[in-house]
Symmetry: C2
Subunit: 202 residues, 2 copies
Amino acid sequence: MTIRLLLADDQDLIRGALSALLDLEDDFEVVASVGRGDEVADAAAAHRPDVALLDIEMPGLDGLAAAAVLAARVPACRVVILTTFGRAGYLRRAMEAGAVGFVVKDAPPETLADAIRRVVAGERVVDPALAAATLAAGDSPLTGRERDVLNATRSGAGVADIAARLYLSEGTVRNYLSAAIAKTATRNRIEALRVADERGWL
Amino acid sequence: MTIRLLLADDQDLIRGALSALLDLEDDFEVVASVGRGDEVADAAAAHRPDVALLDIEMPGLDGLAAAAVLAARVPACRVVILTTFGRAGYLRRAMEAGAVGFVVKDAPPETLADAIRRVVAGERVVDPALAAATLAAGDSPLTGRERDVLNATRSGAGVADIAARLYLSEGTVRNYLSAAIAKTATRNRIEALRVADERGWL
DNA sequence: ACTCGGCCATGACATTTGTCAGCGGGGCCC
DNA sequence: GGGCCCCGCTGACAAATGTCATGGCCGAGT
Protein backbone atom coordinates (compact mmCIF):
# COMPACT_ATOMS: atom_id res chain seq x y z
CA MET A 1 0.00 0.00 0.00
CA THR A 2 1.62 3.23 -1.06
CA ILE A 3 1.43 6.36 1.02
CA ARG A 4 0.06 9.36 -0.82
CA LEU A 5 1.81 12.65 -0.01
CA LEU A 6 1.06 16.32 -0.40
CA LEU A 7 4.02 18.71 -0.39
CA ALA A 8 3.70 22.38 0.47
CA ASP A 9 6.75 24.65 0.45
CA ASP A 10 7.15 28.07 -1.05
CA GLN A 11 10.58 27.37 -2.46
CA ASP A 12 10.16 25.62 -5.78
CA LEU A 13 13.62 24.20 -5.82
CA ILE A 14 13.30 22.73 -2.35
CA ARG A 15 9.90 21.34 -3.14
CA GLY A 16 11.25 19.65 -6.23
CA ALA A 17 14.21 18.32 -4.32
CA LEU A 18 12.07 16.93 -1.54
CA SER A 19 9.84 15.37 -4.09
CA ALA A 20 12.84 13.67 -5.66
CA LEU A 21 14.00 12.49 -2.27
CA LEU A 22 10.64 11.04 -1.30
CA ASP A 23 10.14 9.39 -4.65
CA LEU A 24 13.21 7.30 -3.94
CA GLU A 25 11.14 5.42 -1.39
CA ASP A 26 9.05 2.72 -3.01
CA ASP A 27 6.08 3.14 -0.76
CA PHE A 28 5.73 6.90 -1.24
CA GLU A 29 3.94 8.77 -3.94
CA VAL A 30 3.83 12.54 -4.11
CA VAL A 31 0.34 13.26 -5.43
CA ALA A 32 0.26 17.01 -5.04
CA SER A 33 2.71 19.84 -4.63
CA VAL A 34 1.85 23.45 -3.92
CA GLY A 35 3.74 26.63 -3.17
CA ARG A 36 1.17 28.59 -1.20
CA GLY A 37 -0.60 27.90 2.06
CA ASP A 38 -3.99 28.82 0.68
CA GLU A 39 -3.75 26.14 -1.97
CA VAL A 40 -3.19 23.34 0.48
CA ALA A 41 -6.78 22.57 1.37
CA ASP A 42 -8.01 22.53 -2.22
CA ALA A 43 -5.18 20.31 -3.34
CA ALA A 44 -5.79 17.95 -0.44
CA ALA A 45 -9.51 17.80 -1.19
CA ALA A 46 -8.75 17.01 -4.81
CA HIS A 47 -6.00 14.44 -4.34
CA ARG A 48 -6.81 12.88 -0.97
CA PRO A 49 -3.26 12.45 0.32
CA ASP A 50 -2.59 10.36 3.41
CA VAL A 51 -0.05 12.83 4.73
CA ALA A 52 0.52 16.54 4.11
CA LEU A 53 4.04 17.90 4.57
CA LEU A 54 3.73 21.60 5.30
CA ASP A 55 6.41 24.23 5.55
CA ILE A 56 5.60 27.08 7.90
CA GLU A 57 6.82 30.07 5.93
CA MET A 58 4.50 30.31 2.98
CA PRO A 59 2.68 33.10 1.21
CA GLY A 60 -1.11 33.24 1.36
CA LEU A 61 -1.51 31.29 4.54
CA ASP A 62 1.22 30.01 6.78
CA GLY A 63 1.69 26.31 7.34
CA LEU A 64 0.20 26.42 10.81
CA ALA A 65 -3.00 28.05 9.62
CA ALA A 66 -3.09 25.72 6.65
CA ALA A 67 -2.85 22.79 9.03
CA ALA A 68 -5.89 24.01 10.92
CA VAL A 69 -7.92 24.43 7.73
CA LEU A 70 -6.83 21.02 6.58
CA ALA A 71 -7.84 19.38 9.83
CA ALA A 72 -11.31 20.81 9.39
CA ARG A 73 -11.78 20.14 5.70
CA VAL A 74 -9.87 16.92 5.12
CA PRO A 75 -9.62 15.24 8.49
CA ALA A 76 -8.36 11.97 7.02
CA CYS A 77 -5.13 13.70 6.03
CA ARG A 78 -2.44 13.74 8.71
CA VAL A 79 -0.33 16.83 8.96
CA VAL A 80 3.43 16.89 9.39
CA ILE A 81 5.07 20.28 9.78
CA LEU A 82 8.42 20.51 8.06
CA THR A 83 10.29 23.66 8.88
CA THR A 84 13.65 25.31 9.12
CA PHE A 85 13.22 26.60 12.62
CA GLY A 86 12.94 24.35 15.62
CA ARG A 87 11.37 27.14 17.59
CA ALA A 88 9.47 26.26 20.69
CA GLY A 89 6.42 28.31 19.79
CA TYR A 90 6.12 26.77 16.38
CA LEU A 91 5.85 23.33 17.84
CA ARG A 92 3.22 24.34 20.32
CA ARG A 93 1.17 26.07 17.69
CA ALA A 94 1.60 23.18 15.29
CA MET A 95 0.17 20.78 17.84
CA GLU A 96 -2.71 23.12 18.57
CA ALA A 97 -3.38 23.29 14.84
CA GLY A 98 -3.77 19.53 14.73
CA ALA A 99 -0.40 18.49 13.35
CA VAL A 100 0.76 15.03 14.39
CA GLY A 101 4.37 15.37 13.29
CA PHE A 102 7.05 18.01 13.42
CA VAL A 103 10.35 17.65 11.56
CA VAL A 104 13.09 20.26 11.24
CA LYS A 105 14.92 20.69 7.99
CA ASP A 106 18.30 19.98 9.43
CA ALA A 107 17.37 16.53 10.60
CA PRO A 108 19.07 13.65 8.77
CA PRO A 109 17.25 12.70 5.57
CA GLU A 110 16.06 9.30 6.76
CA THR A 111 14.19 11.01 9.56
CA LEU A 112 11.60 12.36 7.22
CA ALA A 113 10.63 9.07 5.63
CA ASP A 114 10.63 7.47 9.03
CA ALA A 115 8.42 10.19 10.47
CA ILE A 116 5.95 9.84 7.63
CA ARG A 117 5.62 6.10 8.11
CA ARG A 118 5.18 6.45 11.82
CA VAL A 119 2.57 9.12 11.43
CA VAL A 120 0.63 6.91 9.06
CA ALA A 121 0.86 4.20 11.68
CA GLY A 122 -0.90 6.51 14.08
CA GLU A 123 2.06 7.76 16.08
CA ARG A 124 2.93 11.32 16.90
CA VAL A 125 6.43 12.28 15.86
CA VAL A 126 8.35 15.09 17.48
CA ASP A 127 12.03 15.69 18.07
CA PRO A 128 12.50 15.00 21.79
CA ALA A 129 14.96 17.85 22.32
CA LEU A 130 12.56 20.28 20.77
CA ALA A 131 9.69 18.98 22.82
CA ALA A 132 11.71 19.55 25.97
CA ALA A 133 12.59 23.08 24.91
CA THR A 134 8.95 23.81 24.27
CA LEU A 135 7.93 22.72 27.71
CA ALA A 136 10.76 24.74 29.21
CA ALA A 137 9.68 27.89 27.39
CA GLY A 138 6.26 27.61 28.99
CA ASP A 139 3.09 29.31 27.99
CA SER A 140 3.13 32.84 26.77
CA PRO A 141 2.56 35.35 29.55
CA LEU A 142 1.79 37.99 26.95
CA THR A 143 -1.74 39.23 26.52
CA GLY A 144 -3.25 39.47 23.04
CA ARG A 145 -2.68 43.15 22.71
CA GLU A 146 0.88 42.92 23.91
CA ARG A 147 1.50 40.40 21.17
CA ASP A 148 -0.09 42.68 18.58
CA VAL A 149 2.02 45.60 19.60
CA LEU A 150 5.22 43.60 19.68
CA ASN A 151 4.50 42.19 16.27
CA ALA A 152 3.88 45.65 14.90
CA THR A 153 7.29 46.64 16.20
CA ARG A 154 8.90 44.19 13.82
CA SER A 155 8.93 46.56 10.87
CA GLY A 156 10.76 49.18 12.87
CA ALA A 157 7.76 51.43 13.13
CA GLY A 158 7.59 54.01 15.91
CA VAL A 159 4.94 54.28 18.56
CA ALA A 160 2.89 56.69 16.50
CA ASP A 161 2.75 54.34 13.51
CA ILE A 162 1.80 51.39 15.65
CA ALA A 163 -0.89 53.39 17.42
CA ALA A 164 -2.34 54.39 14.06
CA ARG A 165 -2.22 50.88 12.68
CA LEU A 166 -3.90 49.40 15.72
CA TYR A 167 -6.30 52.27 16.41
CA LEU A 168 -4.86 52.82 19.85
CA SER A 169 -3.61 55.83 21.72
CA GLU A 170 0.13 56.35 21.77
CA GLY A 171 0.21 56.10 25.52
CA THR A 172 -1.53 52.75 25.41
CA VAL A 173 0.98 51.44 22.93
CA ARG A 174 3.81 52.53 25.18
CA ASN A 175 2.15 50.81 28.09
CA TYR A 176 1.83 47.52 26.26
CA LEU A 177 5.38 47.79 25.05
CA SER A 178 6.51 48.47 28.57
CA ALA A 179 4.60 45.46 29.83
CA ALA A 180 6.11 43.26 27.14
CA ILE A 181 9.58 44.50 27.97
CA ALA A 182 9.00 43.72 31.63
CA LYS A 183 7.68 40.24 30.93
CA THR A 184 10.60 39.37 28.70
CA ALA A 185 13.02 40.84 31.23
CA THR A 186 14.70 42.98 28.60
CA ARG A 187 15.48 46.65 28.30
CA ASN A 188 13.87 47.77 25.06
CA ARG A 189 11.35 46.75 22.45
CA ILE A 190 13.77 45.20 20.07
CA GLU A 191 15.25 42.89 22.65
CA ALA A 192 11.76 42.12 23.82
CA LEU A 193 10.73 41.20 20.32
CA ARG A 194 13.76 38.99 19.89
CA VAL A 195 13.26 36.96 23.05
CA ALA A 196 9.49 36.72 22.59
CA ASP A 197 10.23 35.38 19.14
CA GLU A 198 12.67 32.80 20.42
CA ARG A 199 10.34 31.66 23.13
CA GLY A 200 7.43 31.34 20.73
CA TRP A 201 5.39 33.92 22.54
CA LEU A 202 4.05 35.40 19.38
CA MET B 1 31.35 13.23 -19.47
CA THR B 2 29.74 13.50 -16.09
CA ILE B 3 29.85 16.65 -14.04
CA ARG B 4 31.19 16.18 -10.54
CA LEU B 5 29.39 18.16 -7.86
CA LEU B 6 30.06 19.26 -4.32
CA LEU B 7 27.08 20.15 -2.16
CA ALA B 8 27.30 22.40 0.88
CA ASP B 9 24.22 23.22 2.92
CA ASP B 10 23.79 23.19 6.66
CA GLN B 11 20.38 21.55 6.55
CA ASP B 12 20.86 17.82 6.25
CA LEU B 13 17.43 17.17 4.91
CA ILE B 14 17.75 19.78 2.20
CA ARG B 15 21.17 18.56 1.28
CA GLY B 16 19.88 15.04 0.92
CA ALA B 17 16.93 16.22 -1.10
CA LEU B 18 19.06 18.28 -3.44
CA SER B 19 21.35 15.34 -3.84
CA ALA B 20 18.39 13.19 -4.84
CA LEU B 21 17.21 15.81 -7.27
CA LEU B 22 20.58 16.20 -8.93
CA ASP B 23 21.14 12.47 -9.14
CA LEU B 24 18.11 12.25 -11.37
CA GLU B 25 20.18 13.89 -14.07
CA ASP B 26 22.34 11.37 -15.88
CA ASP B 27 25.28 13.67 -16.34
CA PHE B 28 25.58 14.72 -12.70
CA GLU B 29 27.37 13.00 -9.92
CA VAL B 30 27.42 14.31 -6.37
CA VAL B 31 30.89 13.45 -5.17
CA ALA B 32 30.91 15.28 -1.86
CA SER B 33 28.41 16.73 0.55
CA VAL B 34 29.19 18.82 3.61
CA GLY B 35 27.25 20.73 6.21
CA ARG B 36 29.76 23.35 7.28
CA GLY B 37 31.50 26.11 5.40
CA ASP B 38 34.88 25.28 6.79
CA GLU B 39 34.72 21.76 5.39
CA VAL B 40 34.19 22.93 1.83
CA ALA B 41 37.76 23.51 0.82
CA ASP B 42 39.06 20.22 2.19
CA ALA B 43 36.28 18.26 0.57
CA ALA B 44 36.91 20.00 -2.73
CA ALA B 45 40.62 19.33 -2.54
CA ALA B 46 39.92 15.66 -1.87
CA HIS B 47 37.20 15.04 -4.44
CA ARG B 48 37.99 17.52 -7.19
CA PRO B 49 34.44 18.49 -8.13
CA ASP B 50 33.77 20.49 -11.27
CA VAL B 51 31.18 22.62 -9.53
CA ALA B 52 30.54 23.49 -5.90
CA LEU B 53 27.01 24.39 -4.84
CA LEU B 54 27.23 26.52 -1.74
CA ASP B 55 24.50 27.75 0.55
CA ILE B 56 25.24 31.05 2.25
CA GLU B 57 23.98 30.40 5.76
CA MET B 58 26.33 27.83 7.17
CA PRO B 59 28.14 27.33 10.47
CA GLY B 60 31.89 27.60 10.59
CA LEU B 61 32.32 29.75 7.52
CA ASP B 62 29.57 31.26 5.44
CA GLY B 63 29.17 30.31 1.82
CA LEU B 64 30.62 33.55 0.57
CA ALA B 65 33.80 33.16 2.57
CA ALA B 66 33.97 29.52 1.61
CA ALA B 67 33.76 30.55 -2.04
CA ALA B 68 36.74 32.83 -1.63
CA VAL B 69 38.79 30.10 0.03
CA LEU B 70 37.79 27.67 -2.67
CA ALA B 71 38.77 30.04 -5.45
CA ALA B 72 42.22 30.27 -3.92
CA ARG B 73 42.75 26.61 -3.07
CA VAL B 74 40.91 24.78 -5.84
CA PRO B 75 40.63 27.22 -8.73
CA ALA B 76 39.45 24.55 -11.15
CA CYS B 77 36.22 24.24 -9.20
CA ARG B 78 33.51 26.67 -10.25
CA VAL B 79 31.34 28.07 -7.53
CA VAL B 80 27.58 28.44 -7.68
CA ILE B 81 25.89 30.09 -4.73
CA LEU B 82 22.55 28.54 -3.88
CA THR B 83 20.60 30.50 -1.35
CA THR B 84 17.22 31.31 0.06
CA PHE B 85 17.58 35.02 -0.17
CA GLY B 86 17.88 36.91 -3.42
CA ARG B 87 19.37 39.84 -1.62
CA ALA B 88 21.27 42.37 -3.66
CA GLY B 89 24.25 42.44 -1.35
CA TYR B 90 24.64 38.70 -1.40
CA LEU B 91 24.94 38.68 -5.14
CA ARG B 92 27.53 41.40 -5.14
CA ARG B 93 29.58 39.73 -2.49
CA ALA B 94 29.23 36.37 -4.20
CA MET B 95 30.67 37.80 -7.40
CA GLU B 96 33.50 39.44 -5.50
CA ALA B 97 34.22 36.09 -3.87
CA GLY B 98 34.66 34.52 -7.27
CA ALA B 99 31.32 32.78 -7.74
CA VAL B 100 30.21 32.34 -11.33
CA GLY B 101 26.60 31.40 -10.64
CA PHE B 102 23.87 32.50 -8.29
CA VAL B 103 20.62 30.59 -7.92
CA VAL B 104 17.84 31.28 -5.43
CA LYS B 105 16.03 28.43 -3.77
CA ASP B 106 12.64 29.43 -5.01
CA ALA B 107 13.63 29.15 -8.64
CA PRO B 108 11.98 26.32 -10.60
CA PRO B 109 13.87 23.02 -10.17
CA GLU B 110 15.12 22.80 -13.77
CA THR B 111 16.92 26.10 -13.25
CA LEU B 112 19.51 24.51 -11.08
CA ALA B 113 20.55 21.78 -13.47
CA ASP B 114 20.54 24.28 -16.27
CA ALA B 115 22.67 26.71 -14.32
CA ILE B 116 25.19 24.01 -13.50
CA ARG B 117 25.58 22.97 -17.12
CA ARG B 118 25.98 26.53 -18.27
CA VAL B 119 28.54 27.26 -15.61
CA VAL B 120 30.53 24.25 -16.70
CA ALA B 121 30.32 25.58 -20.24
CA GLY B 122 32.01 28.74 -19.05
CA GLU B 123 29.02 31.00 -18.72
CA ARG B 124 28.08 33.14 -15.76
CA VAL B 125 24.58 32.49 -14.51
CA VAL B 126 22.59 35.05 -12.59
CA ASP B 127 18.91 35.75 -12.34
CA PRO B 128 18.41 38.90 -14.45
CA ALA B 129 15.91 40.48 -12.08
CA LEU B 130 18.28 40.04 -9.19
CA ALA B 131 21.16 41.45 -11.20
CA ALA B 132 19.10 44.54 -11.93
CA ALA B 133 18.17 44.95 -8.29
CA THR B 134 21.81 44.68 -7.33
CA LEU B 135 22.83 47.42 -9.70
CA ALA B 136 19.96 49.56 -8.45
CA ALA B 137 21.04 49.14 -4.85
CA GLY B 138 24.44 50.54 -5.75
CA ASP B 139 27.59 50.53 -3.68
CA SER B 140 27.37 50.98 0.02
CA PRO B 141 27.57 54.62 1.06
CA LEU B 142 28.23 53.54 4.61
CA THR B 143 31.64 54.03 6.14
CA GLY B 144 33.33 51.21 8.01
CA ARG B 145 32.41 52.48 11.41
CA GLU B 146 28.82 53.08 10.42
CA ARG B 147 28.65 49.47 9.39
CA ASP B 148 30.12 48.33 12.68
CA VAL B 149 27.67 50.31 14.71
CA LEU B 150 24.69 49.18 12.66
CA ASN B 151 25.75 45.59 13.01
CA ALA B 152 26.09 45.97 16.74
CA THR B 153 22.52 47.23 16.82
CA ARG B 154 21.31 43.85 15.61
CA SER B 155 21.20 42.31 19.06
CA GLY B 156 18.99 45.08 20.33
CA ALA B 157 21.71 46.62 22.45
CA GLY B 158 21.45 50.25 23.47
CA VAL B 159 23.92 52.98 22.70
CA ALA B 160 25.82 52.41 25.93
CA ASP B 161 26.36 48.71 25.20
CA ILE B 162 27.50 49.39 21.67
CA ALA B 163 29.87 52.10 22.83
CA ALA B 164 31.38 49.71 25.35
CA ARG B 165 31.71 46.90 22.84
CA LEU B 166 33.36 49.12 20.25
CA TYR B 167 35.41 51.22 22.65
CA LEU B 168 33.75 54.41 21.51
CA SER B 169 32.12 57.30 23.25
CA GLU B 170 28.34 57.22 23.41
CA GLY B 171 28.09 60.45 21.50
CA THR B 172 30.15 59.00 18.68
CA VAL B 173 27.93 55.98 18.48
CA ARG B 174 24.89 58.17 18.25
CA ASN B 175 26.51 60.18 15.52
CA TYR B 176 27.28 57.12 13.43
CA LEU B 177 23.83 55.81 13.99
CA SER B 178 22.42 59.13 12.93
CA ALA B 179 24.54 59.12 9.79
CA ALA B 180 23.41 55.59 8.94
CA ILE B 181 19.80 56.55 9.45
CA ALA B 182 20.24 59.53 7.16
CA LYS B 183 21.94 57.48 4.46
CA THR B 184 19.26 54.83 4.50
CA ALA B 185 16.56 57.51 4.51
CA THR B 186 14.82 55.95 7.49
CA ARG B 187 13.69 57.23 10.85
CA ASN B 188 15.35 54.98 13.42
CA ARG B 189 18.10 52.45 13.88
CA ILE B 190 15.98 49.41 13.38
CA GLU B 191 14.61 50.54 10.05
CA ALA B 192 18.10 51.58 9.07
CA LEU B 193 19.41 48.15 9.89
CA ARG B 194 16.65 46.51 7.92
CA VAL B 195 17.18 48.47 4.73
CA ALA B 196 20.96 48.34 4.95
CA ASP B 197 20.56 44.60 5.23
CA GLU B 198 18.31 44.38 2.22
CA ARG B 199 20.59 46.53 0.15
CA GLY B 200 23.63 44.52 1.10
CA TRP B 201 25.32 47.47 2.69
CA LEU B 202 26.77 45.43 5.50
C1' DA C 1 -22.20 40.52 44.43
C1' DC C 2 -17.50 40.76 44.26
C1' DT C 3 -12.96 40.26 42.54
C1' DC C 4 -9.64 39.62 39.08
C1' DG C 5 -7.74 40.33 34.75
C1' DG C 6 -7.57 42.11 30.23
C1' DC C 7 -8.35 46.24 27.74
C1' DC C 8 -7.93 51.31 26.82
C1' DA C 9 -6.82 55.65 28.22
C1' DT C 10 -4.44 59.85 30.61
C1' DG C 11 -0.73 62.56 32.62
C1' DA C 12 3.75 63.13 34.48
C1' DC C 13 8.35 61.85 34.61
C1' DA C 14 13.19 60.05 33.60
C1' DT C 15 15.87 58.12 30.15
C1' DT C 16 17.23 57.11 25.60
C1' DT C 17 17.64 58.27 20.97
C1' DG C 18 18.27 61.23 16.99
C1' DT C 19 20.05 65.72 15.17
C1' DC C 20 23.19 69.43 14.66
C1' DA C 21 27.27 72.22 14.96
C1' DG C 22 31.79 72.23 15.80
C1' DC C 23 36.54 70.54 17.16
C1' DG C 24 41.10 68.03 16.20
C1' DG C 25 43.75 64.32 14.02
C1' DG C 26 45.16 61.53 10.28
C1' DG C 27 45.52 59.64 5.46
C1' DC C 28 45.19 60.33 0.55
C1' DC C 29 45.47 62.64 -3.69
C1' DC C 30 46.00 66.53 -6.72
C1' DG D 1 50.28 72.72 0.69
C1' DG D 2 45.33 72.39 0.43
C1' DG D 3 41.16 69.70 -0.09
C1' DC D 4 38.59 66.01 1.15
C1' DC D 5 36.92 62.37 3.79
C1' DC D 6 36.93 59.22 7.53
C1' DC D 7 37.70 58.96 12.31
C1' DG D 8 36.62 60.25 17.17
C1' DC D 9 35.02 63.45 20.47
C1' DT D 10 32.03 67.17 22.83
C1' DG D 11 27.88 69.77 24.07
C1' DA D 12 23.26 71.12 23.44
C1' DC D 13 18.72 70.34 22.04
C1' DA D 14 14.36 68.07 20.40
C1' DA D 15 11.92 64.00 19.92
C1' DA D 16 10.95 59.33 20.95
C1' DT D 17 10.83 55.79 24.35
C1' DG D 18 10.17 53.52 28.81
C1' DT D 19 8.06 53.76 33.56
C1' DC D 20 4.58 54.54 36.92
C1' DA D 21 0.27 55.73 39.08
C1' DT D 22 -4.39 56.06 38.24
C1' DG D 23 -8.92 55.51 36.35
C1' DG D 24 -12.94 53.40 33.78
C1' DC D 25 -15.14 49.66 31.11
C1' DC D 26 -15.98 44.96 30.34
C1' DG D 27 -16.35 39.64 30.91
C1' DA D 28 -15.30 35.43 33.47
C1' DG D 29 -14.90 33.09 37.50
C1' DT D 30 -15.89 32.33 42.93
